[in-house]
């Protein structure tokens, strides 16, 4: 293997990439990614808005406030615009007479009884509906929560507490229950959102890699089946042919990722114009992604990109060998099986890491070349693994890539000239032994 083996790589890359970009299906895929990413945030905002601003079936609320703190109707209605048509009636009448009134008026209504307990310094909100009421408990619960929030603000305002201070007091917290073993194993506990992030990342990466490796296999098989390979390899070395294709596929994948990124940026801008920046924060908060977003830094991006590139190179080189081992486009399925199995195995192992939560299995997944590109970046960003494991995983992948490279340099020339039945791994090893190149 020397410099000459890569002579012409740039030309192969340019030609393959340009032809790929002229291909209608490639353009359609790019447009689909762009469209989906551009509309994603506005659509998410609309859905979030719809969910959060669903109106209430309650038309009238009788508030029997037995405390000294007043609940402002304007404040309450500002909490959720969907409540603007609800009539708020303050009353000190007893509950029975309030129920009779609701029954008489035949308007969907509820009674909220607000009482204080001086012994425990607490306030209780009790919501009542009539026995034959069709109002849902969820609806009443949401409405009661909005009222209690308004009451809290009024209560703190009386005490001279500012809005900022109120936000600080009332900021959320979560409780997680874990075993000591789990904590020792991973240092962090898992939550549903982490599994979702892993799954989404794995599927997107698998899809992009699958697109690319299928492109590589198809390219090689087209050259073999159309016999154009014979004219090619007197002008360019086989390794340069393979390298050019891999680079082209990698650039196409990066272009897809760039398009998705650019689409999301446009989406963010559009969303800001349509709904304001707070809606994105609300979506991030409601999806539980605030921690993940806060952990994203330059190093995380490097880990993500390097892991993706290394994984991509491994799968591409296997795809190259697999494609060259076949002779006609009819063999495309057979050629794709090996690489598809590797990808699926990698994804399943990656997903299983969060489910099994076992130290040994996690380490195995981090270091296994077919699963590490799927699990390393996510778990690094989630803080579930550290840089030493990442570096060890990269080293293993680099060794595998180098081994695949040496292997390809010895057998690839013979493989791409071969025509006939698919070359099996055993035969490839025989070629390697005979050093047919």
């Amino acid at each position: 293997m020397n410099k000459k083996d890569f002579s012409g790589l740039d030309k192969v890359f340019r030609f393959t990439f340009m032809q790929n970009m002229k291909n209608k299906s490639s353009i359609i895929i790019l447009l689909i990614f762009l469209t989906i990413s551009v509309i994603s945030l506005p659509v998410a905002s609309i859905i979030y808005d719809k969910v959060s601003s669903t109106g209430s079936d309650v038309k009238v609320v009788y508030i029997k406030n037995e405390t000294s703190i007043d609940i402002s109707t304007e404040d309450f209605k500002s909490v959720n615009p969907a409540y603007k048509d609800i009539e708020i009636i303050r009353s000190q009448a007893d509950l029975d007479s309030l129920f009779s009134k609701i029954a008489e008026d035949k308007i969907p209504g509820i009674v909220i009884d607000v009482v204080s307990d001086p012994g425990t310094f607490t306030y209780n909100f009790a919501a009542y509906k009539t026995g034959d009421s069709s109002l849902s408990d969820t609806d009443i619960s949401k409405l009661t929560k909005a009222l209690s929030d308004t009451f809290d603000r009024a209560r703190f305002a009386v005490m001279g507490v500012s809005d900022e201070q109120i936000q600080l007091f009332s900021s959320g917290y979560s409780v997680k229950v874990s075993t000591l073993e789990q904590i020792l194993d991973s240092g962090k506990t898992d939550s549903g959102i982490e599994s979702v992030i892993t799954t989404v990342y794995d599927l997107v990466l698998m899809m992009l890699v699958l697109f690319s490796v299928t492109g590589i296999i198809t390219g090689i098989l087209t050259e073999k089946s159309s016999k154009v390979i014979e004219s090619l390899i007197i002008s360019v070395r086989p390794l340069a042919l393979l390298g050019g294709k891999i680079l082209s596929a990698m650039c196409y994948t990066l272009l897809n990722m760039f398009v998705i990124g650019a689409g999301l940026f446009i989406s963010y801008q559009i969303n800001g114009i349509m709904f304001g920046s707070r809606s994105i924060q609300a979506i991030v908060d409601s999806a539980g992604l605030r921690d993940v977003v806060s952990r994203m830094d330059f190093l995380s991006v490097i880990v993500l990109v390097v892991s993706c590139i290394l994984g991509f190179l491994i799968f591409s080189m296997i795809a190259g060998l697999s494609g060259a081992a076949c002779s006609s486009t009819e063999d495309l399925n057979e050629a794709s099986i090996a690489i598809s199995l590797c990808l699926i195995l990698g994804v399943y192992i990656s997903m299983a890491v969060n489910l099994i939560n076992n130290f040994g299995f996690s380490v195995f997944a981090y270091l296994l070349p077919c699963s590490s590109p799927f699990i390393i970046p996510v778990n690094y960003i989630l803080g579930k693994t550290g840089m030493p494991v990442v570096l060890l995983s990269w080293m293993i992948q680099i060794v595998i890539i180098a081994a695949l490279f040496v292997f390809s340099s010895r057998v690839y020339r013979s493989l791409i000239i071969h025509s006939g039945n698919r070359v099996k791994i055993r035969q490839m090893l025989q070629m390697l032994k005979n050093n047919e190149n």
């Binding site: 159309s226 016999k227 154009v228 014979e230 004219s231 000239i417």
Partner: protein, 310 residues
Amino acid sequence: MLLEVKNLSKKYGEKTVVDNLNFEMKNPGVYALLGTNGAGKTTSIRMMLGMLAHDSGEVLWNGKPLDTLSGNVGYLAEERGLYPKYSIMDQLIYFASLRNISKTDAKKKIEYWADRLKVNEYLCPSANSGKKMHAKNADQLSKGNQQKIQLMIALISDPELLILDEPLNGLDPVNTDLFKSIIYEEINKDKYLIMSSHQMPMVEEFCSDITILDKSRTVLQGNLNEIKKGYGRIRLFVKCETDIAEYINETNIGIIKNNEFDYQLKVSGEKQANTLLKKLIENDVVLIRFELREPSLHEIFIEKVGDTNE
């Protein structure tokens, strides 16, 4: 310039596909590699071009191992191939770039060869009703036209060494003549051509030296004229209006073929032929044709390959 092929051998497992091939081209011209199907011609060419590894031997171009990347070599493969779904213009520019030809030069050369090979309409379709026309894709071309594009690819770098594997296969008579004229042009430019073919008349037309392969081995090699001279004038063609088998038998001449008084005979030399001619004249046989000549390459080929196949 000097091309030397020395002791080239190749085995697949236990099967020898090329056994100790040796030849050299000291001067420009056409060297023919002949042989039956599976004799090892294409494998030899692939080894010479470095596509296939050889078990032993070497191929030298000007005393150095032939490297198709640094040397200017053109190749028309036996199994023609183009990217079916890509524009032929893109493909030609790509192949030219792989031979380190700039895009501008490549376009000039493409224009020249498109004109010469009469494929302009596929490469530069004229504008039709104001709509921009693009070069055709390879799969939109006939087999013959695809072959012309392949020849353009082989010639685009103006190679010093041109290897043509069955160049005229599948061409109609008009395009055969077109290809032949181009081959003549290349010969006149003092190029080195190696040609593999089953079409013996064409080989006789172009080639100065030959190697006949059979079952991986070289069975005949040398200058074509010398080989023919070595055989002598032993083919006698006689056509007449009556049966002359009796006179032929009397002069102990072997009959190779007899098709309604059109005889193809094998004689030992000019003396035996003259004896027959004298006999025919004495007996007032009306002769339409009486031709004594050296065996054709076709006959030599059949004899050599037939011998080893027996």
